[in-house]
């Protein structure tokens, strides 16, 4: 199907709005970050040097300092933190999909009058502040918290399980918090699925699990990818959940950026970390677009 083409001027106008939005709220701030990342820290207000400096009256010089990026690559601390964030983001995304897919599937296949209440159950927790919900997890997971007291009361364990301040607590917090971001796009895809395809497959003798693998799963891939992106990207920069639930050995970029910005007053290094994170996040998008185009060209 060909898109109905509007008159060029109107079309340009409509396209200009998102471009303007991106330029103002993404490109411009990013250029600021980039500028600071090429600077040097100093004890002043603001705590970094100008790139353009006056050397003697009227003569100016441009000083660009790449040493921040050099330090990021040389000091294993930063690459370990990047690895730590990638690991947490990848594992959390996987678990969000494993838990979220059956949930979305069940809601999409439930009777019509059940769907709205079930969706509300997914959305309702969001009406409570994010911080309160994470603090609630502290109450559940801590040494003499709800979970441990329950298990000990039932006689299943003798001494409290150490969950708080471990990577497990971070995964629980992250998966809990980001689950709806997977369920909702998956539900939106699954609800539109053409059920007659499954009937046809069944008529031709295809077993249910094979129907799922060959029809439902491939057709719901856009929802899977959208959900995965909505989890993976914010978790990469997540700071609050690992800080509140994680232990001292949780090394992630968000926390490291905080240290550089606040404790070290090293805004340039913090900015170069932010720039690095952005590159790492944009790369999968670019690759995805690339493969999408190829598959579009592959089956026109």
């Amino acid at each position: 199907m060909k898109p109905t083409s509007a008159r060029p001027s109107t079309r340009h106008l409509i396209i200009a709005v998102p471009w303007f939005w991106l330029a103002l709220f993404f490109l411009l701030p990013f250029l600021f970050v980039l500028k600071i990342s090429l600077s040097e820290p100093t004890l002043a207000q603001p705590p970094y040097m100008d790139l353009i400096r006056e050397i003697e009256d009227g003569f100016v010089t441009l000083v660009i300092n790449f040493s921040n990026y050099q330090l990021l690559l040389e000091d294993s601390l930063y690459l370990s933190a990047l690895w730590g964030s990638l690991k947490v983001a990848a594992i959390s995304t996987l678990f969000c999909l494993l838990i979220g897919y059956p949930m979305a599937y069940a809601i999409a296949r439930s009777p019509l009058h059940w769907r709205l209440p079930l969706l509300m159950l997914i959305i309702l927790p969001f009406w409570t502040s994010f911080l309160i919900r994470i603090y609630a997890w502290i109450g559940i997971l801590k040494a003499n918290g709800l979970l441990n007291n329950l298990l000990m009361g039932l006689g299943l364990i003798d001494s409290p399980l150490a969950i708080m301040h471990t990577p497990l607590a971070v995964y629980i917090g992250v998966v809990y918090n980001y689950l709806p971001f997977v369920v909702l796009p998956l539900y939106a895809t699954l609800i539109r699925l053409d059920l007659t395809l499954l009937e046809a497959a069944a008529d031709l003798g295809c077993r249910p699990w094979k129907q799922f693998l060959l029809i439902t799963l491939p057709l719901s891939m856009p929802g899977v990818i959208a959900g995965a992106m909505l989890v993976f990207i914010p978790v990469m920069g997540e700071f609050v959940i690992p800080d509140l639930l994680g232990g001292p050995d949780t090394l992630m970029l968000g926390k490291l950026m905080w240290t550089e910005f606040f404790s070290n007053k090293d805004w340039p290094l913090a900015s170069s970390l932010a720039a690095l994170l952005l590159v790492v996040l944009i790369l999968p998008f670019v690759l995805l677009r690339h493969f999408e185009r190829r598959s579009e060209e592959g089956n026109p």
């Binding site: 820290p41 040494a143 003499n144 301040h165 905080w258």
Partner: protein, 364 residues
Amino acid sequence: MKKLLHTFLPACLLAGAATASAADELHIYNWSDYIAEDTIENFEQATGIEVVYDVYDANEVMEAKLLAGRSGYDLIFPTARPFAERHIQAGLYQPLDKAKLEGLDNLDPVIMDSLASIDKNNAHLVPYMWGSSGIGYNVDKVREILGDDMPKDTWRLLFDPEIVAKLADCGVTLMDDPTEVLVAANIYRGADADDFSRDGIKAASEVVAAVRDDIRYFHSSQYINDLANGDICVAHGYSGDVLQARDRAAEADNGVNIAYAVPSEGALVWTDVMAIPADAPNPEAAHAFISYLLKPEVIAPITDYVAYANANRAATELVDEEIRNDPGIYPPEETQAKLQVTPTPSERQIRALNRSWTRVKTGQ
């Protein structure tokens, strides 16, 4: 050095841009839980100045706002070393107009002398509260594990691998503050507290690394609740915070018995000060507020409430007897002799300290 909640305030920091202030509006930025409940209201009634009162839980958060410029605050409460010290060096404060401040001569000369070494002629800073950092512990549980001849007032409770291993199941915590912890480690290993040389930082980090696996967590305020609830046994903490934990446990009557000890090897003392940012919109009102807090009858009830000693000698006798006689708050002379001011690392050393600290904490 105070605390509460957490350190995820950068969002608020970005949101709280400068606001133009009316003539009789005073913008104060102070630590959370660091003033009596009625002080602000009484000040407003006495002067007619309207106060906008914001709080932070880490010096770093306040500092980032200050460094960004045009914070819009008229009065802030930084810790003297290293924060106020470097802000003075960077020219971020305006000199006080001492003609407008009554009662400066009530301030403890020992503290004023000490501040003069970072603030020439005491031109910018007025001391607010002070305290020490040492060890808070659950008396009964530690005795149960280590026996009656347990060490009480020594850094070995936090840094001796053998002792910490025994206490690990009960819970041992360190502050999440590289200067505090690595300086304490320096004192423990018998080096100069301010040995911030490459090798000094390395050796101090190794002291912490040796016990790291037995440390429950690194945090500068969470231990208050956990000590009070009996969730942990030994915490590296600020005097007033440990005493708050003790009082909370006593209030809850949960059988948890908390004590605070200043290690005999030596410990750090800190002073929080009041300062007026150079770009304060209403320095006039800030002076009025400092004057108000200089009144002994105003500052004494604040000490009663926050459990930290103030720097006003004339106020001591007005402080609640129980607090005045508490060696954790107003330490006797032999304890004071063990206290030393927090040394200030250079900017380069701070970055080295912080990076070394992240490494130790994360076990890299």
